[in-house]
Symmetry: C2
Subunit: 231 residues, 2 copies
Amino acid sequence: MRQHDLSLIRQLPLFTAIEESHFALLMKSALLQRLPEGVLLIEEGNRPDFLYVVVEGTVELFAGDRYRETTIDILSPVSTFILAAVARDEAYLKSARTLTAARVLLIPAPAVRNMLDRDTVFARAMINELAARYRDIVPKLKDQKLRSGAERLANWILETRRSQGSPDYIDLNYEKRTIASLLGMTPENLSRALAQLAAYGVVSHGKKLQIIDKSALETFARTNAVGNRYN
Amino acid sequence: MRQHDLSLIRQLPLFTAIEESHFALLMKSALLQRLPEGVLLIEEGNRPDFLYVVVEGTVELFAGDRYRETTIDILSPVSTFILAAVARDEAYLKSARTLTAARVLLIPAPAVRNMLDRDTVFARAMINELAARYRDIVPKLKDQKLRSGAERLANWILETRRSQGSPDYIDLNYEKRTIASLLGMTPENLSRALAQLAAYGVVSHGKKLQIIDKSALETFARTNAVGNRYN
DNA sequence: GAAGCGCGTTGATCTTCGTCAATTGAAGAC
DNA sequence: GTCTTCAATTGACGAAGATCAACGCGCTTC
């Protein structure tokens, strides 16, 4: 593994404060895999063998059966995933696949659990991380239960705008169908919702969206009411 | 606080393995409150002062604004809540109110965080607990995104049946409107969904439901999760 | 017992969303 | 350049769900 990758991983909240020797120990047993697009990394229901870290590319977490499926989250570098399953050594609740070609680090689950018992700093970081994950998902549940599809989209646009930093444009980094699945709607309805948001200053330019009137969009989105967190 | 209550709390996964002196320390700074029905314990957006434990009665976790609101969870004794906000010292994402008269234990949040840093066993238990909470909520999100109202109800009935232990009947311990909100539907649609489930062996008797044909109900719950409208 | 109150149910209607089909548009293969 | 392929869009329709209104029923209150 490259030194560059190691230092990126080291900067993750989960690892940043632990002892160098402990970090080295975890990394020693880890595997770095280079994967093409569309590879199934994790299958719902299986037992967790590894803690995963996306080092490069994007990974989609999804759930469902072969008739219906929904996107739970889209992960960009550098982030860990399936912490909860690894911590409890219980079956995955979600599946994961590469959305693009990617490099993924696999840390053996027993090594992680072992370290949790031995390293208090690591344990504390894990608590923060699990709590953060929990706090990511609660707004999503609220979103689904309280808002319409168009409202979810409006909030997602505003949230994405904030995380991407540019005030007037956002990049749709993924296929619209994936975004639709993330937002809990069909691609057709995402299209219609986007058309609807034109009245509130959202203009579609291919894989970019232009935000002409942020405050109008915010009014429509009712951001304050529910809160948001897709990024 | 009564000795009986203390031993109940002590048996919670979060506290069962920690040193007696540490447990005593946490309990020493805790307050036991006796509350009537309908009291707001926690308001979304505020900073967490306490870790809560329901000792007696039931507590509802909910979210939303004054126009729309939804039930996230209903807690029975003995269980902790708002772990994640306390662990990270960040604003509550949900509100909480008593659904019945209740007794609730309040453990000062700083004492909890302090103990997390000092007691590895407690930290490990917190990891397990946070992971469990996360794993509780993921299926709820999947439920909302993948299933219809009637399917959610069917699955909720089966789940409740399992947790209550009696094979033929389940008790609706709460108002139907609360159950509707938990399932993400209106009271009217809950009524209709129940009527719909009569065809699968679910008979309504006031605050009890009779389950005549468990396997038929399971078939409905699972079959529809597969979305086979072609059969 | 009568009246009032609130929950639950039922019916009618409207909105939102999903589904199916047809078409457009953009990117890659040759 | 054209052809192929697949995502995205658009329209038409049907299903699921929300809303509004009316009513029944059990419970409390007087």
